[in-house]
Symmetry: C2
Subunit: 313 residues, 2 copies
């Protein structure tokens, strides 16, 4: 089966937009707005999860307004409330998404980009809050004289990974855990996932924007959770000699692939969904995908840079 780049992007930015008719049926009628104690919207909570929260003392569930409010005005208290709730639900094996428990805290931001709430990574989708990561595309620039096209260092995910086993990936990727910064996380992940030295990463990592989207994903228990996501994007110029080496068991192998080979793997659906989107962003920024060769050029760009309805970093 062959898919288009637009299919790939829509599979990741899969939540309808407020001006589309499907927004009412598949967003408004299926979920509650998750509110901060001061009324700021922070995310989307599925109806069944809102039901579960109605018995919790620190939450106010308003079935008319369809909102769930977290009431503590204090940062530390909020974090404790969410941490103990998530731990209890995990122990009860209540939600499949919590089986992927990471022991890593994600930050939810308020409108002035300050940390408002810390939440276990695996629990973020239950509250539909915005999460953050870094994605790094390692590439070898084209050499026109030698007839060499763009090439990419593409890892295959380990066949034993719980999520997307065996699929192709961006060279390096990782979540933005509290309290690390964006560049710090990028450098750390380049070491952990590709065996690159801090010096090399620091001098070669080139920030190049971000992709933003709202992903909806159905877990094993049938819960179809909302996940607004931000992936900061870095380009990493490499050479044939800068061979990335897996240093953990997350990656099976790295292969050097030409832009044509990457294209073939993308449209065959072999890339992990959100890494396909990052790869497409790279190829647009570097003129591999052009207004002339891609009929959905403008729509790709818009959907990959979704404006978030909630405060972000």
């Amino acid at each position: 089966m062959v898919v288009t780049y637009l299919d790939l992007v829509k599979a990741v930015d899969s939540v309808p937009y407020p001006d589309q008719s499907a927004y009412k049926t598949s967003v408004l009628e299926q979920s509650y707005v998750f509110l901060a104690h001061n009324g700021t919207p922070l995310g989307r909570i599925l109806d069944s999860v809102a039901d579960a929260l109605s018995g919790e003392p620190e939450f106010v569930v308003d079935t008319t307004a369809r909102t769930v409010q977290l009431t503590p005005a204090d940062f530390i208290t909020r974090n404790q409330v969410i941490a103990s709730l998530a731990a209890r639900w995990r122990a009860e094996r209540r939600y499949a998404v919590l089986l992927g428990w990471r022991n890593e805290l994600y930050t939810v931001y308020n409108p002035t980009s300050k940390a408002y709430l810390l939440i276990e990574r695996a629990a973020a989708a239950l509250f539909g809050v915005v999460t953050y990561g870094v994605h790094i595309v390692g590439y070898i620039p084209p050499n026109k004289l030698a007839g060499q096209p763009f090439r990419f260092w593409v890892p295959t995910r380990s066949p034993t990974k719980p999520t997307f086993p065996g699929m192709l990936d961006n060279t390096v990727a990782g979540g933005l855990g509290y309290p690390y910064g964006v560049l710090d996380t990028a450098i750390k992940e380049c070491g952990e996932e590709a065996g690159l030295s801090e010096d090399y990463s620091e001098s070669h990592l080139q920030p190049a924007g971000a992709v933003t989207y709202c992903y909806r994903h159905e877990y094993e228990d049938g819960l179809n959770l909302f996940q607004p996501e931000v992936e900061y994007v870095y380009d990493l110029e490499m050479s044939e000699d800068t061979v990335p080496k897996p240093t953990d068991d997350e990656v099976a192998e790295f292969r050097l692939m030409t832009a044509d080979e990457v294209h073939a793997e993308l449209v065959a659906g072999h890339f992990k969904p959100n890494t396909a989107l990052v790869q497409i962003d790279f190829m647009i920024r570097h003129g591999i995908i052009t207004p002339e060769n891609e009929p959905n050029y403008l729509e790709l760009l818009a959907l990959m840079h979704r404006r978030m309805e909630y405060p972000t970093r």
Copy 2:
């Protein structure tokens, strides 16, 4: 006065989004939806312009649904209707925006990206339809060994230009007139506005995405028109020896400016508004603006890549 990059972007992407409360008062309550004969939304028409159209035989104005429908099912007829209407309004000096008559046709697209309607460039804002252009940033790459930062070839607009006289601009920019393609227009404009040869432009122009936004601008007659715009973005690597030469009277002079100088001119408000946005996009893609040095990094990216509510190219 010093402004932020976010101020600059919001001044161009200045129409509220459907989930914001201001959308109701400043979009829904001030304008009608411009519909194709088959009901596809194509743009936004101000109430007073919708009033003027209610007397026109080829338009159906529905004051309850707040829609204006162009009825001819045939491409040629539609173009004639719009052309004769725009010419009549121009002769009557009815709308200030038509004083900038260009004798250039813009294309309005249907959902399958086919030409649906041709409209005089100056009349596009009266119907609030999406318009298209190309913007080209001519730059000299940094030379780390020589301590040279990114530099840009920045033109000053002629002091006699009717729009934004004396302001700074992208190296080259131009509208996408029917029936020219994107790259064709870029090459043509590089010749006209910077004296660059077709060969040079063709081998050096690098497509790098597009910026999309919805601009609202008040004309001399007080009409505050909607203008959704797409600007295809090209990077053009140049050298100190590739000096662009104005070949028409639109540009007063070109100056070579460092990234720091460009930053200072941007925050001083000296760039033409939508070229500021293109310059910011370049600086994000090339790692000059980073998640570390720009607090509104994510919002800039989202607002510069607005998803259009109407069909596009």
